[in-house]
Subunit: 345 residues, 2 copies
DNA sequence: TTGTAAGCGTTATCAT
DNA sequence: ATGATAACGCTTACAA
């Protein structure tokens, strides 16, 4: 009986044996180490191909104490803004030699916690997070900070101060722009449908919007303000209530485009003329806002630019891991937004 | 000088030392191994928490020869169908203890190849792939098959026979339904805008569509058929050509909804009445198809159901890794589709 | 129920 | 330029 070892797969040791050289040399050759002769490098690579060798990143990661994986926790990949953000971020990280592990919290705080723990154990080299609508306590990310693992929050960021990097859109200005635009378009009775105030972006949009109305001495009726998850269903509920009284709004700021789209559909069903009887501003500049009739005025957030900032921050932090320059942290980085005017205003 | 080891982080060995027991016991306790006393299990877990221990999945993966990571290569996450598919698949795999590593080929064959190699080296436990528009040679996935790593193609699958699992929508039937529906709606001059025939789904949709017209003795004019990437820009180009002659189509089958949406916009600009002068059927039942005016008739593909099938196949294959039952492979699994009628027909 | 010891595959360090 | 060796942290026969 031949003592045939079941040898599942060839390792650098096997290559070394086959070539009569040491595993260290093989490793160096495969990693294009400088001080290895061209000749052996070539021999090694050829033998590797011949033997069907594949690099084992688990072993390599264990030895190097780095996984080359970057974790991403995002509320939902179905949101337009995040899709564009992710695509751009992934391209850049890929180019820098990192893999992105994309996870969805589905706007559940408990899922977010689980994912944070999983990615923590998985030894991701860095973590990028956009929080759920309801995350107020961010203690589940503390481990990353303690271990000096780069942690970047973007878009939906913590509402309290943190040692992590923070990169966000200028939601305050977005709210301000929306309010100003509706007022300049002649609206006097402006309604507002916002997401929950536990979430940074809605806090900020609300602040900006409220400031705008105050500045122009436009009254803000509490009965015309709604805070809830910005789904089409919720939007319809709120719209029904908004339009059931005698005094009805002539302007609406919807804190996302799903809500703005629902408002357009609602107005059509009720025979409310847009923009004559009701003007609408949405948020995010979802592609749907442009194709619907009438096309919706919205706030553009430039997801690609934000992805650039995040990628830059990440790569910088990963390179200088030994000098955790805390001076670059602290102040949130704020990305510009713009109002895109269309047919609803 | 105190010989203070720089001990970066605590391992099970440290816990063992602190407790005066062996690392093996600690490992077993943390893994809830059956034959460990309740008492020590509790002691270990407490000490682990106290010492801020975190599991090292790199080490664990190396030892176990499994990463618990499943790779996914998808053309673009911006496509509605894939977003829903991914979300559903990820939820199920997460529940089964796997992490999903989502990558985008961006419809580039070379990127697809790179990603396949990266995920191969990353030692993913399985790979799920929807091919680019242009992937005809699938040799870059051969390594997975050779190593017995479960490989599942879904939606855009290889056009040639493969040993991998294949799960696809019933695109032939989708094309058939679209053709039949337009004909029953009274169309006589039907145009067709398809994706490139290098891609399985467009091959099949075309076959079904062609068969439908043949069966009903409706002529198929070659000048009314276009094959190209289904972007809005390309759609406009083709539509312009379609409507520049004397004889113009009264029906259009668009092989995706982006194209159908472009057709609606084109018709509006040209003052072509829909559905009276032109009837349109799209594909995928993109949510945009429902909100545009007029709402577009489309083919629903049930991405969640396909994700269920893929998850089931994967988990099954991963459990029986030692019995690579080849009988379950071979025949593609075909998922049903339905026509959703709206205002464009 | 717990301990001992070897090994997963790679790479950094030190030596030659 | 190359080799020998140890170690990364965990798991699992095998022993006790």
């Amino acid at each position: 009986m031949t003592p045939k070892k079941p040898k599942s797969e060839n390792s650098i040791v096997d290559i070394a044996k086959a070539l009569g050289i040491s595993p260290a040399t093989v490793s160096r050759a495969l990693n294009n180490n400088l001080r290895i002769s061209e000749a052996t490098r070539a021999r090694v690579k050829e033998m590797a191909k011949e033997m069907g060798y594949r690099h084992n990143s688990m072993a390599s990661s264990l030895r190097n104490r780095r996984s080359n994986i970057i974790g991403l926790i995002v509320p939902r990949i179905s949101m337009y803004f995040h899709v564009f953000f992710i695509t751009s971020l992934q391209r850049q990280l890929q180019a820098a030699g990192y893999n992105l592990m994309i996870c969805q919290s589905n706007d559940s705080v408990s899922v977010e916690k689980e994912l944070a723990n999983t990615l923590y154990s998985a030894r991701v080299d860095a973590l990028v997070v956009s929080l759920t609508l309801y995350t107020e306590n961010i203690a589940h990310f503390d481990g990353f900070l303690r271990q000096g693992i780069p942690l970047v929050f973007y878009d939906r960021v913590p509402t309290r101060r943190t040692e992590a990097y923070v990169i966000k859109g200028d939601d305050y200005r977005g709210g301000l722009l929306a309010g100003n635009h509706l007022i300049q378009a002649g609206c006097q009775r402006i309604a507002y449908i916002s997401g929950p105030l536990s979430c940074s972006i809605y806090q900020e949009r609300t602040r900006g919007f409220v400031d705008s109305l105050a500045k122009h001495h436009i009254p803000l009726r509490q009965e015309w303000i709604y805070y809830h998850e910005l789904t089409a269903e919720n939007a319809w509920d709120s719209l029904r209530k908004l339009f059931e009284g005698d005094i009805i709004p002539d302007g609406l700021f919807a804190a996302n485009d799903t809500t703005a789209i629902a408002a357009v559909a609602f107005a059509r069903e009720r025979g409310i003329a847009i923009p004559d009887e009701l003007k609408i501003v949405g948020y995010s500049n979802d592609p749907r806002a442009a194709i619907i009739t009438p096309a919706i005025t919205s706030i553009e957030q430039y997801p690609n630019d934000m992805a650039d900032k995040v990628a830059e921050t990440l790569i910088n932090a990963l390179q200088h891991r030994h000098t955790p320059s805390p001076n670059t942290i602290g102040e949130p980085l704020i990305c510009p937004v713009d109002l895109v005017r269309r047919m609803t205003t």
